[in-house]
Amino acid sequence: MKIGLFLPQNNHFYARIATALKTGFEAFGHKVFYDLKLYESDMLLQFCRCFEPDCIFEMNRSKNEIDELPGNIIHIAWIVDLLGRDINDIQESELIYFFGTGWKDLHVNKHESFVDWLPPGFCPDTYKPTHRSKIFDFSFIGHIPRPWASTELNRIIYAQGDTYFTFKQLFEQCQSTWAQHGGLHQLRPRQYLQMIEDVLRSNINNDFRINDRIIKYDIETRSTRMINRQTLMDKALSSSSSTSIFGSNNWLEWPNYRPFYAGYLDTHDKVRNIYQSTKLSLHEGIGIHFRTLDCMGAGGTLAFMPTSRDDLTDGINSHFEPFRHYIPIDINGDCGHLKYYLKNDSKILKIAQEASLLVKQKHTWYARCKKILSNIASL
């Protein structure tokens, strides 16, 4: 089989995924061409004429978003980021894979696509386990959105006559509603999205929908990322100030976290080294993420913010066991459990070793390719 593989951007993150998938598919005897951009329609048709693929695998684009694709080509969409789209905008691909926990259940499949969950894979070459002495109690790797600018908060979502409803009102009411229900991490996507709709309904009218992609992204994704990361960091910082944050310099715009910001990690080696030099690597708990696997596979110990989605069939607990492969953070409790683990090196080492073994056994990119090929065969 010939496979065209397209990821959205040329950077070391996507390049690693592309090379890992290529290697995985090639191990099964398939020929792969990949590029780190999504082709416009004309380019894609030229590609199809030239390479004659049997299958096209694209990250973050579904078949209905492509003007034309020869009918005999199987299209696989791996949706890692909705990018402000409604989940039901993702249609028509023969195979649709969702990355996030609970997304599959939200999706209404209108075209008889095969729909499934596809978590990321682990690359044992890039994240080879190495024993290192610990430098930090906690580290967090990832970005945080900028705090809302006043112009963003003042965006008018709805106006009629003298009445209007701003993004600030929407965000504050949603934040309050989410908090009343135990916090965002306790809500399933369907629930917190429903709460956004409820806020809009009670303030505007029953039929109102947000059509602006940026506003939709801001309330559904940026807000949740912002709130979850604050919740996580506040918990860690109340347990230990030996905490380092790595990511984009957006962190500097958050006064509470600025002192802990330690820069951007621009290579996989640096990322891996931080996992291995940290007692507990923090993750905000949105299922099996790239960084959760990389951390566990590399021999780091993952401290994961539990969510109400963890026990779903595509939740982290479908493959990993709390306290055995990772440490769940008791967000609403005191910090005793975190302090306990910070003082018990042998316990966190054992957890790291068990997790690393499992990741290498069952969660490599090779295993993901095997699953994809098996799904293609079943079409």
Partner: protein, 278 residues
Amino acid sequence: MNDSAININTALVSKDQPIVLSSVFKSGTWLLRFIIENITGLKYIEPPIKTGSMDPCDPTLIHIKADHFYSWHFTLSAAIQEKLIRYQAKPIFLVRNVYDLAVSMYYHFANNIDHEIGRGANKHDYFLRIGKDNGIRKIITGCDDNEFKWKGIGPHLMQIESMFHFTTIYPCHLISYENIVNSKADSIRMLADFLDIPLSVEEVIRLVTNSEFDAMKSAARKQNKASHFRNGKTQSHTYELKQQHYDAMQECLDEYAPRLYSLSRKAGFSHILSHSLA
């Protein structure tokens, strides 16, 4: 797909701006030459190879010749910089992760790479005898044994630093082996853009496919020169180098290329100094 050579774009190559490639020894020179040849339709020329007696800083070794591009492992000395500027050259510089370079240089000697084309160093018995760890260490630090004389990786680090420095004062195209291997299609497009040669989607696809490691090795095997193609991967140092090698490399970096860290970082090439025990 038609596997024949891509359209020759020779007519599009600027006659006024000769293409000059400097690559670090063992950084993927053959691969990049193949790509440039296919983009431009030009063949490369290099200076006559005289083992052990060629000064990489010597501008007289750089031959600007019509209908060819020049390719060798030269260092950007002041005299060479002046020559490139005077010729309004389009310089292309190929670098590679320095730890992988050390591994590749080691295997170059240990496996007697290129012996079948008369360019083998014939030091494989020596490297077999001293063992891999010791061999890699000598590659990094240098060696003045009777059997093997080698200046170490230091001059190569100096060469890389000179490339990064020159890109800050003159328009050049920097590319790394890791770029080519991990994002080849984009690397080809960016190189073609630098050379002002538009490539069609088909040309890019064909060039990506024809320059696959296996395809190139297979083609080389037919010409009995396949030893040059060892594994075509990045990050091999992860499995080959030990702490002593990283320490030795750090000493070489401090001595020969103290600005390389900041220069490579500013240019977005941090990966060339990245390693698994950092």
